[in-house]
């Protein structure tokens, strides 16, 4: 059973550095949709900012003294090196406090952590990205990577769904993505008066395409129930389980596989994931409450 290779972290990073948050400052904070915002961070130490690199699908631990720490995916372009973007939904202690921050405020940041979408290994393939709700931010760096290297990929389809039209993220970018030949398909669970698009859950969008199982790779992130159905639809189209990649969410405290919180069977989602080939987690993923 092999998980994806862990991050490309510079070998010089010590255990202490992996555990200690370093100060970053907010360069911009903007609401995306109701109670969800994108915060841009830049290390106060320019050398740290310069040395910081991540792969699509990795996450950071964001820390506010007195509030605590939360795992947040990096949502920005890996080639954009002057600031690091995070789209955050305010659901609890840390995320609400981050939402109240202003430009120039300080936050502790450590990362990047975890495995990444194996996007470079998938050159030459058709790519199907399937995201639900707040599952799109961790996939967006992969979209940017594809945009920068569009000729290296075959058909690229993004399936994206949210509860309602006002819950859709990044809608102002979809036109640019479509222009670069990414087939962006959007659906909502519940339409409103303004909505002219598709209604229904993400897995239903599979019925609009013929996928070539020999060529296609799937990457999916979103609520676990959505991931389950996306995997089901992909397997039904004979896409092999080791070419379906899923990103999982668990309670995380350390990000280094030694606090125990994020376990899924033998795996620590923080270091063996969050991105897994489905074939690896298959024996455990279907087990309720495991």
């Amino acid at each position: 059973m092999t998980t994806l290779a862990a991050s490309k972290r510079p070998a010089a990073v010590s255990s202490e550095e992996l555990l200690n948050p370093c100060w970053a400052e907010v360069t911009d904070l903007r609401e995306e949709i109701d109670s969800t915002f994108t915060v841009w961070l830049k290390f106060k130490d320019p050398a740290l900012q310069k040395g910081y690199a991540f792969e699509p699908g990795q996450f950071n631990m964001l820390y506010l003294p007195g509030y605590g720490e939360a795992a947040i995916s990096i949502c920005s372009d890996p080639e954009k090196r002057d600031a690091i973007g995070h789209t955050v939904r305010a659901v609890g202690n840390v995320t609400r406090a981050i939402g109240r921050m202003k430009k120039g405020d300080e936050i502790g940041l450590r990362g990047p952590f975890g495995t990444h979408w194996p996007i470079e290994q998938l050159e030459g393939r058709d790519i199907l990205l399937a995201a639900g709700g707040i599952g799109l931010p961790p996939l967006r760096p992969a979209v940017y990577h594809i945009l920068h290297n569009r000729a290296k990929y075959g058909k690229v389809i993004l399936l994206y769904g949210a509860r309602s039209p006002s819950d859709l993220l990044y809608t102002n970018e979809f036109e640019a993505w479509r222009k670069s030949d990414i087939d962006v398909q959007v659906t909502v669970d519940r339409a409103d008066d303004t909505w002219k698009g598709q209604v229904g859950v993400v897995p239903l969008l599979f019925y609009r395409f013929r996928l070539d199982p020999a060529k296609t790779a799937v990457m999916t992130c979103g609520p676990e129930i959505m991931i389950r159905f996306v995997v089901f639809e992909a397997l039904a189209r004979r896409i092999p389980a080791d070419r379906i990649y899923v990103s999982l969410e668990r309670n995380m405290k350390c990000g280094q596989g030694f606090c125990g919180h994020c376990q899924l069977g033998p795996f620590f989602v923080c270091k063996d994931g969050p991105v897994f080939p489905y074939s690896v987690i298959e024996p455990y993923f279907g087990v309720e409450e495991f």
């Binding site: 059973m1 862990a6 255990s15 202490e16 992996l18 555990l19 200690n20 948050p21 100060w23 003294p65 007195g66 509030y67 605590g68 720490e69 939904r89 659901v91 609890g92 995320t95 300080e106 502790g108 609520p223 676990e224 969410e249 668990r250 309670n251 995380m252 405290k253 350390c254 280094q256 596989g257 030694f258 606090c259 125990g260 919180h261 376990q263 069977g265 033998p266 620590f268 024996p283 087990v287 309720e288 409450e289 495991f290």
Partner: protein, 374 residues
Amino acid sequence: MADIPLSVGTTVALPKDQLDPLLSRLRDKGYRTIGPRIRDDAVVYEPIEGLADLPRGLTSVQEAGRYRIVASGNQRYFDITPGAQSWKQFFFPPRVSLLEFQKNGGWKKHSATESAPRLALVGVRPCELAAIEIQDRAFLREDFTDPIYRDRRKNAFLVAVNCLHPCGTCFCASMGTGPKASGGFDLCLTELDEVFLVEIGTDAGLEMLKGLPLKAADKADVQKAEAGLASAKERMGRTLEIGDLPDLLLKNLEHPEWQAVAARCMSCSSCTLVCPTCFCWDTQDRTSLDGAHTERQRVWDSCFNPGYSHQAGGNTRPTTRSRYRQWLTHKFGSWKEQYGVLGCVGCGRCITWCPVKIDVTEEIAALRKEEVRS
């Protein structure tokens, strides 16, 4: 006496009263000497000066949900079997400061980690040595080491004691971790009525013995020790068949026994706190009332705590059934894939200290009995 050849791997005899000078030497070298003492009718691991502090002539009777200190019927110092505490508290402290933050304009970070104490742990059982080695695998990985654990661990001096007196919940023989220590100590004692036999495990151990009035190990004494250990192996209160682990557990994730045990389990987390191998922890921020000072701490956590698996998407393990299953399948199952060994050393603590007498050896037997292969 000075001509006794000393080398790593050899066994010599140490007169009992010479444990005191050995401990004071350790203290002279800067070690804090910690060993078993009796407090509140139970054995605890606390600072000791010498023989006078040890639980002489005492042992414990242990059964599921039951622990009593009783007279052992002899005058040995180390016949007491493990209590609720384990040595993990010294390398993996229950509560430890990670960082401190002071607000003055912005936030300033101070390192809060005290320099690691030098600890000499005296009276470490073979099962407990094995537990330390298991925690080493969790905290001292090739790709990552926990600095707090690393510093405390590398400073430590370990005096093991072979186990001649297992109790009712012990099953180290089944787990292959005891009753005789096979390594991982600086010195290892086997306590006979008249003398300690001392096996030298490391150069540091050898160094500590030099100049003490040692004797060559008497052949009869060595035989006595061996016979005692062989008999201890036969007197384990529990046994556990491990040949089919971890498969048995990981292939029975939907077994009806999980529901049955969940009906009794109170999700109290005692088993994980007393377990010498459980390594889970949480972080907590302690903030002053004016909000200007925050101390970030690391505290023991347990997979039985409701908040343990909570995140925005909901609770991964909302039921006692799922939490007990996590505990057992981790210890006796997925641990093997994570660290190459099972996560249990057979110390019996989780059985003794379970308020409703849940017994891991019985639970595993129950899974085997009505095995439902999925």
